[in-house]
């Protein structure tokens, strides 16, 4: 009797668990409409240099490795890999039984053909791979070896980028000479197959029934173009679309109350800062630069101007990036700011006057942030002339070159998946305008030395040490007024599950499903 009772209890408990979790099991079927602000430019991965194209392409193509949502590298078309002790060779062991959407086999030949196409071509991303890769060697059908020109600590990160996704050899043969045409006919190995692209309107993908990782849950994804962010939010509310990003923060409270939708704050790697022209007097004086940092209440800007959609920077690098070191923000201390300015020769009788150039509408509340900073700096006796500009004109203004650099301080943002890239591109003394992005002409030989060491550091521990050291130096030198790391708002219909937000601004629908 006892045995029978226990059996019944176990059966009932098991059934209860089944019932509870049955509701959570992914279901097959349905379509998702992801409404985006801008159309893709191209669906040819090594030619992609914008987020919308990357977001679509990542559902069609795959690389040897990929990032997870925390920006860690994980296997994809390669099951595992090895690096030689000198860091000059990477051997990838490829997954078997994978086919491209056009039926071609995925193998080492396909990998070599892709990278030969990239390195020998004139694609937008040719140079970053050409600079590093000496040769791609086929060891056997499912083993491929990359020989580098020099040890490069970020090689795997570059391989995880959508620019390194593997292309169908058949497609390369057919379209390789015309990048415009090639970009219209994407053929990858991914969970979704390209169906059609109506420029300016939509891109439609359908489920890859033969996907090596198992058929995706969704039947179809439509990437629809709707430039206006308010309209995108209304489309989610009305059910005309199912998910979107870049929701205006002013709509947050109203959308939170709408039972039809879910709104979430998600992290992003974009940092916002005021760059300083460090070769222009008196901004070449470190006391002035530090004073400007102390004079600004970054917490208040995040809370009031950005309505909680950002948090202050503790380093020049987003804290979401591996390699970030929390040096610590300059605290808000107007008294200290005034002391430093006085030491540098500025007071009530001799005021510091600066121009603050800013784009308008490029970043979240960019112009409003500039105006808030104008007010804060006025409190410490610094007169700011805010100069807003259209983006194209702004870029022209900032990249005028050393002799024509008329700006004092400028508002800018930077989004990256690599800590070392942020440091190299924005702080290396050789990377200055008109071509480089060290727009403030910051120069510190120690930083340059560390950048080189970071690039060659194949020991992750040593690399992190160098990164920590370089971040401390940069914070101390204050070539920027370090502002904040922005967040993003995503909005989607209730019932849509399994979507994954990557802080590199990629909304991943590959495993999404409808719970109804």
């Amino acid at each position: 009797m006892r045995k029978r009772t226990w059996s019944l209890v176990i059966l009932l408990v098991s059934l209860s668990f089944l019932l509870i979790f049955a509701g959570e099991a992914p279901k097959y079927g349905g379509k998702v409409i992801y409404t985006m602000g801008t159309d893709a430019k191209t669906l040819l991965p090594p030619h992609i240099n914008d987020s919308p194209s990357g977001e679509v392409a990542r559902h069609i193509f795959e690389g040897l490795v990929e990032y997870d949502e925390k920006l860690n590298i994980k296997p994809l078309l390669a099951e595992k890999w090895e690096m030689s002790n000198d860091g000059l060779t990477y051997t990838f062991y490829l997954r078997k039984g994978v086919k491209f959407h056009d039926g071609t086999d995925f193998n080492a030949q396909a990998v070599k053909k892709t990278f030969d196409f990239i390195i020998n071509g004139k694609l937008r991303r040719t140079n970053i791979y050409k600079k590093r890769i000496k040769e791609v060697e086929i060891v056997d059908d499912y083993t491929v070896r990359f020989h580098l020109k020099a040890p490069f600590s970020d090689f795997l990160n570059y391989m995880a980028s959508t620019n390194a996704d593997i292309l169908s050899p058949k497609a390369i043969e057919k379209y390789g000479d015309d990048y415009g045409e090639f970009g219209k006919y994407p053929v990858g190995t991914g969970p979704f197959v390209f169906v059609e692209w109506k420029p300016g309107e939509k891109i439609v993908l359908k489920a890859n029934e033969n996907y090596w990782g198992g058929r995706p849950y969704l039947d179809e994804i439509e990437f629809r173009v709707t430039p206006e962010d308010v309209t995108r939010a209304l489309q989610i509310q009305s059910g005309d679309a199912h998910v979107t990003t870049r929701v205006p923060p002013v709509m947050y409270n109203a959308l939170k109350k709408d039972p039809r939708v879910v709104i979430e704050r998600v992290p992003e790697t974009r940092v916002i800062f005021l760059g300083i022209n460090t070769i222009k007097k008196p901004l070449d004086d470190i006391r002035v630069r530090r004073a400007l940092n102390y004079a600004i209440d970054k917490e208040k800007i995040c809370k009031v101007v950005l309505q909680g959609m950002a948090f202050p920077l503790k380093s020049p690098i987003s804290e979401l990036l591996p390699g970030h070191y929390p040096v610590g923000a300059y605290p808000y201390d107007p008294k200290k700011a005034k002391e430093l300015l006085k030491e540098a020769g500025f007071d009530e009788n001799h005021k510091l006057k600066l121009e603050l150039a800013t784009p308008k509408g490029r970043y979240l509340m960019d112009y409003q942030t500039a105006l808030a900073i104008q007010g804060m700096l006025k409190e410490v006796g610094v007169e700011i002339d805010v100069r807003p500009m259209e983006w194209g004109e702004y870029i022209n203004y900032l990249f005028a070159g050393r002799e024509n650099a008329k700006y004092d301080i400028y508002l800018l943002g930077w989004s990256d998946t690599l800590a070392s890239n942020v440091i190299d591109r924005l702080f290396s003394s050789t990377n200055v305008p008109p071509l480089g992005e060290n727009i403030g002409f910051y120069s510190n030989p120690k930083v340059d030395e560390l950048i080189e060491k970071i690039s060659r550091a194949i020991d992750p521990k040593k690399k992190d040490e160098y990164l920590a050291e370089v971040q401390k130096i940069i914070m101390a030198d204050a070539p920027w007024i370090f502002l904040h790391n922005v967040q993003e708002l995503i909005l989607y219909r209730k019932g849509l599950k399994g979507l994954i937000w990557h802080s590199s601004e990629f909304l991943d629908l590959r495993k999404a499903w409808w719970d109804k």
């Binding site: 801008t38 430019k41 004139k122 937008r124 990048y179 415009g180 309209t231 509310q237 005309d240 983006w391």
Partner: protein, 307 residues
Amino acid sequence: MLRFIIRRLLLLIPILIGVSIVSFLMVHLIPGDPARILAGQNATPEDVLAIRERFGLDKPLTIQYFMFMKALISGNVKSLRTEKNVMEEILPRFLNTLQLSLVSIIISATMGIFFGIIAGVKRNTWVDNLVMGFSLFGVSMPVFWLGILLMLIFAVKLGWLPAGGKGTWKHIILPAITLGMATSAIIARMTRANILQVFHQDYIRTAYAFGISERKIIYKYVLKNALIPIVTVVGLQFGYLLGGAVLTESVFGWPGVGRLIADSIFTRDYTLIQVGVMFIAVIFVLINLLVDFTYAILDPRIRYGQG
């Protein structure tokens, strides 16, 4: 008449050459390096240089102009942004704008003429004041505000119509009304003014004196003459809608040519801007020709191409 049409069509050639030079110079006057903008913010210096060289942006302006004209004549001008043939981008978008503008002008012309007639016939009454008040409202309402408001009411609250995008016949209603609101107001005011003007003509007074019914006077004599100038206005408004629908297209996500050209300016897609502007110029000239042709049909006193 045929000679007139041929002459007008031949005039297109110098017009297009002029537009090509003006649009070429204007895009190059806009501040901003297209190579840097095309390369994107995360581009390496080598990427920027490579783009500049690939698209000939490092060459003198005269060379760039001739390269552009050569590509134009061979029908192979490529967008700097997408590297596709610009006509692949422009034509489908133009057809979308044409569709939107046609529906919009039909709605606005119908509404505008109808209300203009009522206002003109019931001149100086409360009906007249109501219609004119409404038309003032129509002209004053910002397109952006009206579009969002209509979507909030009809899509989000009532669920009767979609919130933007393109698909079924339902998708065109809200953007067409939004786009046509100001136009219908202008047409209503013009119709009313023309009707009032015609009412004061001697032949109308004579018609009344002969005892002809008011209904017949309005429909047979007044309207026919009052509507002739309206044809010009409708034609010009249609041309304006074709090129000026950018705000409506942006608010509703309607994939039209106005939005395409506006976006091209922000991305400094020189070739697309130039070809887009030339394309709109051709359409405008053709519309003007069509208006003149219609004018001649409506008014037998007008004959073109004669001494």
